[in-house]
Symmetry: C2
Subunit: 370 residues, 2 copies
Amino acid sequence: MAITFELIKQCSKTGARAGRLYTPHGVFETPIFMPVGTQATVKAMSPDELKAMGAGIILSNTYHLYLRPGHELVAEAGGLHGFMHWDRGILTDSGGFQVFSLGPLRKITEEGVAFRSHIDGSKHFLSPEKATEIQMALGADIIMAFDECVPYPAEYDYAKASTERTTRWAERCKKAHTRKDQALFGIVQGGMYKDLRAMSARDLVAMDFPGYAVGGLSVGEPKPLMYEILEYTVPLLPANKPRYLMGVGTPDCLVEGVMYGIDMFDCVFPTRVARNGTVMTSRGKLVVKNAEYARDFRPIDPDCECYTCRNFSRAYIRHLLKAEEIFGLRLTTIHNLHFLLNFMRNMRKAILEDRFLAFRQEFRAQYQLH
Amino acid sequence: MAITFELIKQCSKTGARAGRLYTPHGVFETPIFMPVGTQATVKAMSPDELKAMGAGIILSNTYHLYLRPGHELVAEAGGLHGFMHWDRGILTDSGGFQVFSLGPLRKITEEGVAFRSHIDGSKHFLSPEKATEIQMALGADIIMAFDECVPYPAEYDYAKASTERTTRWAERCKKAHTRKDQALFGIVQGGMYKDLRAMSARDLVAMDFPGYAVGGLSVGEPKPLMYEILEYTVPLLPANKPRYLMGVGTPDCLVEGVMYGIDMFDCVFPTRVARNGTVMTSRGKLVVKNAEYARDFRPIDPDCECYTCRNFSRAYIRHLLKAEEIFGLRLTTIHNLHFLLNFMRNMRKAILEDRFLAFRQEFRAQYQLH
């Protein structure tokens, strides 16, 4: 099997767990946060900077790479690893999420989805087979089944039909997938309906995927509802397989996700807000672009050991952002990714020492959500 | 004296020379190319990347830093060195060039120049005393006298009056300058008129500056005319002082400048064209953004040892540029700066081995200008 998961420690009071993910490009400790490199680059970062902060697996995007530069070109370059000069883990999503987000630009049938490119309006068709073929060409360590992310809110009937189709598509992806050095993960859907989540989980688990994602959360629903569905869904997944919560990456959601037993996360959040001038600290977010930091010569976070905090002040970073200098985006991105990766390492340590609930409590006492 | 210049080797056949510049922030080998960091950052680069490629002195900009974030703020941060975390040499220009480029937004009198900010339209006044005060606050190792860069073309009478005023302003800068750890350089003007160049050089040399710049070249005149004026002007400057040709940085002009006896250069050229997708190689420029490089998996320059060429292909870089990814701008900028710094090192080696003319000949045989 391309990917194996080793469960190292189960929290005695919650679902939280520490593990190890064995991939063809290294062994990675879980719970893990995966930085997003949509277009074969984590925005503003070099592979070496990612390594220096301990990034293990990064995520890249089937939809975007299929359109530009094209998956055949990436395959010629030696796959994504060779193309972008990244020798650690890569996960590609199936492109489903992006295609479905196109709204009026796409049409869904049982066969797949017809859509127009957001770049040049050209016509394309993505099916479970095509999404799998593209992902095999891209050559990531972990690839995802082609699914529909049920929107929120969704009527029960729509959610049911969509979820059943996602299951049929997962079956087709599994048949189409022939690369033994890649792991294909299934994605549990079902919207906000517990019986549909149960149905989806049951059907996908029966197909015996090497890992499972929980999709269709963090799509606009209230956080308590997301947590409720998560708490309900995770125990339906096998304990000996990695569990991946898609599109979630704020510190508060990461803690809750880990508590419910999630091992893997990805989100554009830390890199996107960084480019807008918002950085994370152990006390909450800080909008370093704000005027109040103009003459603040302290680092973003005095306790942080990232390249940014070791060498540069809030005042300098604010100046760079106001002057629209690229280096400002680099510095905030470095800090935010370092912060989150370190946050995950600290959570893992707490799990290993069986004090995860205390960690969560401290975090919630200290971290200002807004 | 803050800056001293040691002449190591004089070419036996041309004016080319190799030397060493001693500054409060290190000793730098000349001829030297100084990357431009207009707003207290060399666009897209980190200080560490600049150091890794052997950059010695960088240039920053009085006009821009005065307007944003303000020179008092920079002074509070420990000067430019502390503010931008750069412990090697810094040179600041006087702001004159930028202010005069504002066109209708500025008005010149004997006292100085009234102008409006290009950022918010606010009113400001820059004089020799003010430009010197700002540069003392910024704290660069080398600062420049406040001058008018005579435009091209210019009537004789205008050029004469302007050049005489620049000389009076240089005198005022010298009086205003009190920091002993900084060197103030004079700037020779005179437009394309040899007698005015002679007058300017004579008057400035009489003031005994620790270094001299040749200004007002590369402002739109044909290259042969620039070379003619340069060849005429440089011998008017003292051999024991560093000579700086402002705003010149294409490989062909660097070779000619060195041949005529210039020690220091700066230009936005390598970083600006990099961001537009043009890179330099030993055979001339290469527009890596072009479609012909879409499937070209070779490095930009197979002979280059920069971070970009060691790790990334033309195809990947082209993809990043087409997708408007920041990392693409970083990779082309790294390559171009590395190329130019290495080019200067090779020229210096040729001078030391007294084979500069052969180096020039080889370069001209190989390098495609267009």
